[in-house]
């Protein structure tokens, strides 16, 4: 084999090496993009789940106002709230409420006129979670006995896998 032919073979090998290096870099970039897209989709699904749990809480008939004197949207009946806590706490109802709220903490706190202690409505936690979101929703706390409306806040902390 003459010298010219040897140089051409080495040149071809060098071109092939560079080509495969570029192909490898492209593949790594592609897999990173796909991975980040999957993570972004997972985060969005988790956030949607957190929003839907917050909406379920807002429209939970166990606590929502239904009296003529109380507004019905974004309103919690404080009389119903006491009963709802004991109903949600019952072991035979735990599966039903788990279906609704999954792994979350739901607490209700009076903000005005007095800053009260948060009342825990539902709590189920897991150590095996990927994302944790907290959503605060202002609500009216209506007492149908006195027809008074207080300013309250529902805090919903959801854990998603």
């Amino acid at each position: 084999m003459n010298k010219q032919a040897q140089i051409q073979i080495f040149e071809t090998i060098a071109v092939l090496v560079v080509f495969f290096i570029l192909l490898g870099i492209g593949f790594i970039f592609y897999t990173k993009v796909i991975k980040s897209n999957i993570e972004s989709d997972t985060a969005e699904i988790s956030q949607s789940k957190s929003v839907s749990i917050a909406q379920r809480v807002m429209f939970l008939p166990e606590i929502q106002c239904s009296d003529d004197y109380c507004p019905k949207e974004d309103c919690i009946d404080t009389l119903k709230l006491d009963s709802a806590i004991s109903v949600i706490d019952k072991p035979e109802n735990s599966l039903y409420y788990y279906d609704l709220f999954e792994f979350s903490d739901i607490s209700i706190k009076e903000i005005y006129p007095s800053s009260g202690v948060a009342i825990l409505l539902y709590s189920k936690a897991t150590n095996d979670y990927k994302n944790k979101f907290q959503t605060n929703v202002p609500v009216t706390l209506c007492d149908p006995r006195t027809h008074t409306n207080k300013f309250g806040m529902i805090t919903i902390t959801t854990q998603t896998k």
Partner: protein
């Protein structure tokens, strides 16, 4: 094919590959992450807070709501609360209290205003002395805004809440 022509063809292929790679980087590398929860909470927050505030009862003023107090304020302060405040100053102190405990606690900047001479197109109050003067600070940049009309006989009061983004 001559050697020079082959090299030009190779160069053209490399240029095409670089352009394709750049397009892919721009398309996938700089896409904005979606944030469904923040979109939901930001859009609902101003509306929920203002709505809840306006129907909150004032214990010291005979259990009337903040809406009633604003209407009284516009009519000329018939209600005097047990703490000595008139309806206008009671609404202002209640708004200051509630907003500092909610939005203030979340380190969010806000601005609350109640006004009877309000231009909805310009989002500007033309009252020389608004019913409830600015609670909080105006937003210099982007904001979420909610305006609630409160009927008056005659006229309308507008309650405005801005939450800075």
């Amino acid at each position: 094919m001559k050697k020079a022509q082959t090299e030009i063809l190779g160069l053209a292929i490399v240029v095409v590959l670089v352009i394709i790679a750049t397009i892919l980087v721009v398309k996938f590398g700089f896409s904005k992450p979606a944030n469904a929860r923040n979109d939901f909470t930001n859009s609902e927050e101003a509306s929920n807070i203002l709505n809840t505030f306006l129907r909150t009862s004032a214990n010291e003023c005979g259990q009337v709501t903040m809406t009633d107090l604003l209407q009284d304020c516009a009519h000329g302060n018939g209600i005097v609360c047990t703490n000595g405040e008139d309806s206008c100053s009671f609404v202002k102190s209640a708004a200051t209290d509630i907003l500092s405990r909610t939005l203030g606690a979340e380190k969010k900047q806000y601005n609350f205003l109640a006004c009877s001479n309000f231009n909805l197109k310009e989002i500007k109050c033309y009252d020389a002395a608004p019913l409830v003067d600015e609670v909080g600070q105006s937003c210099p940049g982007q904001k979420k805004l909610k305006i609630f009309p409160i009927p008056l006989n005659p006229g309308i009061i507008y309650a405005k809440l801005e939450i800075c983004s």
